[in-house]
């Protein structure tokens, strides 16, 4: 059956457990004419749609398609499809695979592992932005009619200069305080010791 192709495979999570009920769509990766290509119908269109399937309880899917799905009337140079998959759960797309253009007997085999590849949140980044975001609540709840500017004005300036000056732990050392006893990013050195030089024990 030279005219029939199959994209198939299995989708697992990070712990190698199969994921069921994922919606898998197969596309042929083509060079098209961008947004104008659709004006010409399916001739010269990019990324031909090949088919879809849901994964079963074993995480297995199978999508059958024919040559006509990816080789249009004018796609004279189209030989075999460059298949890639778009995989989504019920909340949205969770993975787009790399192109597979090496079929065996018209079968495109995919082994997909779904990993959370989003970057880690850095709890220490954007401290200043977090401060500013949350300071808006202060602005919302203050009543200008009740504020004593003679007292509050200098206090505000003092607070800002304090933040600018004393936020750096090295400044604490200038005043005789050894400052923090752990590194700025403790999880970067998981074997760090917990030692406080002035800790008193029996």
């Amino acid at each position: 059956m030279a005219d029939t192709y199959i994209a198939e495979g299995r989708i697992l999570d990070e712990k190698r457990k199969p994921i069921k009920n994922l919606y898998v769509e197969a596309f042929d990766d083509d060079v098209g004419l961008g947004p104008f290509s659709s004006v010409f119908g399916n001739a010269l269109s990019p990324n031909d749609y090949l088919g879809n399937a849901f994964t079963n309880k074993d995480g297995v899917f199978r999508i059958k398609f024919k040559t006509a799905s990816f080789k249009g009337k004018y796609e004279v140079f189209e030989g075999q499809p460059d298949v890639y998959l778009v995989i989504s759960d019920e909340y949205g797309v969770i993975k787009t695979t790399a192109v597979n253009n090496r079929p065996k007997n018209n079968r495109f085999e995919f082994k997909v592992t779904i990993k959370d590849e989003s970057p880690f949140f850095d709890p220490y980044a954007n401290s200043a932005q977090r401060l500013l975001t949350q300071f808006t609540a202060t602005g919302q709840s203050a009543d200008p009619a009740l504020i004593n500017p003679i007292w509050t004005g200098p206090l505000l300036i003092r607070s800002i200069t304090s933040y600018l000056h004393y936020s750096d732990p090295r400044v604490a050392q200038l005043y005789g305080n050894p400052g923090p006893q752990v590194s700025a990013r403790p999880k970067d050195s998981p074997d760090h010791e917990h030692i406080i030089p002035w800790r008193k024990t029996k």
């Binding site: 004006v39 799905s69 005043y175």
Partner: protein
């Protein structure tokens, strides 16, 4: 039912100690109990109910941070762990209020000081209508004491700062003692306010929460980064909680949550619990009143030898002589040792500019203690126009007398202990060079009380506990008066300031509340019906709340499940469900765009709103698409087709030449819901322009101007004066899109019983309106020549319009939301709005 123990949140931080999952979409939960707040009260309630077999959802506004995330840097940790990044103030910016906002709440950032509820306070509360017998109090206190591993600070753990206070107290013969603290093998690092890196502090995170999420028998889900906005209820029965998952860095709402529960417990802490009640019009005449504090003012003793107060437990010793722990009944004060890391210290030192620098250079030479006064319940929590909490508080005159006395005592103690000079907290006299300056300082406090710098980490009250429903918010079981299943338990229910560091009292009350709910479960709560509401979460039944990514997936995965004839509308088939505030409109299908906040979607949403109508013409199905803001009626022909990608869909072909390059694909997913995509190009390979949904039923937040007029004319009446009193928040009515809350109307009665209204529009424009009640409607007049007309639909919902004077000038111009009406005297513009009592 499958049991679950999991912490959820928006922030992906590596190496979590507890099982943790990212929230990536809207959430609907159906559980026995929903607890709001994970601090000293909420964590205990959630733990005790979950371990007793109840399914529990715990909602926490802050994030989840482990000990190893806590890096002892002030700017990093204050912005992560403290409410409003430490910038919570009273409305006059006079007093800073320290509260935690993270999983574990204030217990994560406090100094771990533990006091059992003093007998004096318990007796006073009993006289104020709190009927908790001593036996119950004692048992609850003992249970908490054990679970958070409280122990006395050992003598060798007292650093020089604490010892200086100890020596001064002993020298004077004052009653004093080392503190009890919930800390095991304290490392004495001095960074308690920044979270305990060594996990020796036994806060809620490492005690009650850890036990709940690690027990295989518990059923608990904890959602962090979740700000609670709504408690829904009717007829004294609360049925659910709704909230937003908020990105802490940007303030953007990422996802929504709805929790359907049989019992709801509010434990968001003093201030926030009152705020939640007020936002939802729960006990609106009582909530927020009786707020109080332990305001504190600090004195530094400057000694000749370094005290190095940073090295060790900051709060290890207390002078009880003048406080409730020594039987003082009226007010009184404790003197507690304390010390602060350098940034907080610099913020607290009451001086400016070069004086400040001079004081800071002696950082290691200072001993520090605070006079912590037990004030009266004289403060209030109210709401600002945008629903933020506004705290109004000035210390009572009795508190100022206690300050004057306490600061005198402490200054004398520092001088007795050998201080070279003393740094005070009054702006008229920072430095006390000798004992002779003490009188000057006291005089300054007495004559200019506003000049005394004060701070507090102990907000209490606002939702007073007591058995009198006319003055109290909750009863002695912490149940809200008038409700069968809504509880508030935290420091907000204290009838007065407790007089000591309050965390153990809060925990004991939470223990009693949880025990009551557990003990009464079968008789009172088990049979309560569980609501099936979805709030503002995205689902197939209410796609108007979906983001584009979810709607796209829904369209792709969902099959067209209804015959094409389902499309046909019935003009005139319009109804309004007053109880549910739902509109069923079969005149046409109202279109909805996605809720994404990007510029393109917002522009399309506000200027591209549309409806589609389908009908039978000459025996064939036909349709019209009409954008509200343009005189366009695009004819189309719907037809069922099999699409190579989407399967069976309704293909909507536009027949007019100007729209020939456009087409829509629709999937009819139920009788009243359609998912759709619009394309440009030649089918089936056109370019997708957008994904949308359409519905024949929607709630009043999405009403059109036509809906508004029908409700105004047919379902609304002139309100009764007493029913309109209170705070209402409003949205403008736009055909195209749901608008945000833009106005707040607060109706009050003046001394003569006459109604008046204060308005705030857009958070900027504020003023008073004169109110006239007619048999037809409520009329309101402001300083412009426009006026408001308002009618009441239900006790919690009104509709209104702000209209220009009638004129004979043709008014057929302007945007559609500025509707034109014909009235006696000519035509007029009207800006339509809705008002809800609950935000």
């Amino acid at each position: 039912m499958e049991k679950d123990q999991m912490i959820y949140g928006l922030e992906k931080i590596r190496d979590r100690r507890e099982a943790y999952t990212l929230v990536t979409h809207d959430v609907v939960e159906n559980v026995d109990v929903c607890v709001i707040g994970s601090g000293a009260a909420g964590a205990i309630v959630a733990n005790k109910l979950a371990l007793q077999g109840k399914s529990v959802v715990l909602l926490e506004k802050g994030g989840y941070y482990d000990a190893e995330d806590m890096n002892q840097r002030e700017t990093d940790m204050i912005s992560l762990l403290w409410k409003n990044a430490g910038a919570t103030f009273t409305d006059n910016l006079r007093m800073v209020i320290a509260q935690g906002q993270c999983l574990g709440g204030s217990t994560v950032i406090n100094d771990a000081v533990c006091f059992k509820t003093p007998q004096v306070t318990r007796d006073q509360w009993r006289q104020m209508g709190v009927s908790i017998p001593d036996g119950k109090w004692d048992a609850a206190l003992d249970e908490v004491w054990k679970n958070i591993h409280v122990s006395k600070v050992k003598d060798y753990e007292l650093n020089e700062n604490n010892k200086t206070l100890q020596r001064a107290c002993l020298q004077k013969g004052y009653l004093s003692s080392s503190n009890d603290r919930n800390c095991k093998d304290c490392m004495q690092c001095g960074f308690c306010h920044l979270g305990c890196h060594y996990e020796t502090k036994q806060d809620m995170l490492v005690t009650y929460i850890r036990k709940a999420v690690r027990s295989p028998d518990s059923d608990i889900k904890i959602y962090c980064n979740c700000s609670v906005e709504k408690i829904t209820y009717s007829d004294g029965v609360a049925d659910g909680v709704e909230g937003d998952f908020v990105d802490r860095t940007t303030g953007a709402v990422k996802f929504k949550i709805r929790v359907n529960a049989k019992v709801i417990v509010v434990s968001a802490g003093a201030i926030a619990s009152s705020q939640i009640l007020l936002k939802n019009a729960i006990a609106p005449d009582r909530a927020g009143r009786g707020l109080t504090f332990h305001p504190a003012s600090f004195l530094l003793g400057r000694f000749d030898k370094p005290v190095n107060a940073y090295d060790g437990i900051p709060m290890g010793y207390t002078c009880h002589q003048f406080g409730v722990t020594n039987g003082v009944k009226d007010g009184g004060f404790l003197i507690e040792s304390i010390f602060l890391p350098i940034l907080q210290f610099s913020l607290g030192v009451p001086s400016f500019f070069e004086n400040h620098q001079l004081l800071m250079k002696d950082y290691v030479y200072y001993a520090m203690a605070g006079v912590m006064v037990r004030d009266e319940p004289v403060g209030t929590v109210s709401l600002t126009a945008d629903g933020s909490a506004k705290v109004h508080y000035d210390p009572s005159s009795r508190a100022m007398k206690d300050f004057a006395k306490g600061l005198r005592v402490l200054a004398e103690m520092w001088f007795d202990a050998g201080a070279r000079h003393v740094i005070g907290g009054h702006r008229d006299l920072f430095v006390l060079e000798s004992r002779s300056d003490i009188d000057r300082m006291v005089k300054a406090v007495e004559e200019n009380p506003d000049g005394l710098a004060i701070a507090s980490a102990h907000p209490q009250g606002g939702n007073r506990m007591g058995d009198d429903p006319s003055t109290c918010v909750v009863d002695s079981n912490c149940r809200v008066h008038g409700f069968s299943n809504l509880f508030v338990t935290d420091a907000s229910v204290f009838p007065t300031a407790v007089g000591v560091n309050p965390q153990v009292t809060v925990m004991a009350l939470a223990t009693l509340t949880a025990d009551y709910i557990n003990d009464s479960w079968k008789s009172q709560f088990a049979k309560l019906p569980l609501s099936s509401a979805e709030g503002e979460t995205c689902s197939l039944g209410q796609p108007m709340y979906c983001h584009s990514s979810r709607l796209e997936t829904m369209f792709n995965r969902q099959e067209n499940s209804m015959p094409i004839e389902t499309l046909v509308n019935k003009p005139g088939d319009w109804s309004f469900d007053k109880k549910q505030l739902m509109i069923r409109n079969n005149n046409h299908w109202k279109g909805f765009f996605t809720v994404d906040q990007d510029l393109t979607t917002m522009a399309v949403k506000y200027f591209g709103g549309f409806w589609k109508q389908f009908f039978i013409k000459d025996g064939k199905l036909a349709g019209i698409t009409h954008p509200y803001d343009a005189p366009v009626f695009a004819d189309n022909i719907p037809d069922m087709t099999s699409h190579p990608r989407y399967g069976d869909v309704v293909y909507l072909k536009y027949t007019g030449a100007e729209f020939a390059m456009f087409y829509d694909l629709l999937k009819i997913v139920d009788q009243d819901t359609i998912l759709g995509k619009a394309f440009f190009g030649v089918p089936p390979n056109g370019n997708q322009i957008l994904v949308f949904s359409m519905s024949r039923k929607y709630n009043v937040d999405f009403m059109t101007e036509t809906d508004h007029e029908k409700i105004y004319q047919e379902h609304a009446l002139a309100p009764e004066i007493d029913k309109v009193v209170g705070r209402w928040t409003g949205r403008l009515v736009s055909d195209s899109a749901q608008t945000p809350h833009v106005q707040t109307f607060t109706y009050t009665k003046d001394n003569f019983g006459k109604l008046q209204m204060q308005y705030v529009f857009g958070g900027l424009l504020a003023g008073m309106s004169r109110v006239v009640l007619t048999s037809e409607q409520l009329l309101m007049y402001d300083y412009t020549n426009w006026h408001d007309e308002v009618r009441m639909v239900t006790d919690d919902f009104m509709v209104g319009k702000w209209c220009s004077p009638p004129t004979n000038i043709p008014l057929d111009f302007g945007p559609s939301f500025l509707g034109v009406e014909t009235v006696p005297g000519g035509k007029r513009f009207c800006l339509r709005f809705t008002l809800k009592r609950r935000m």
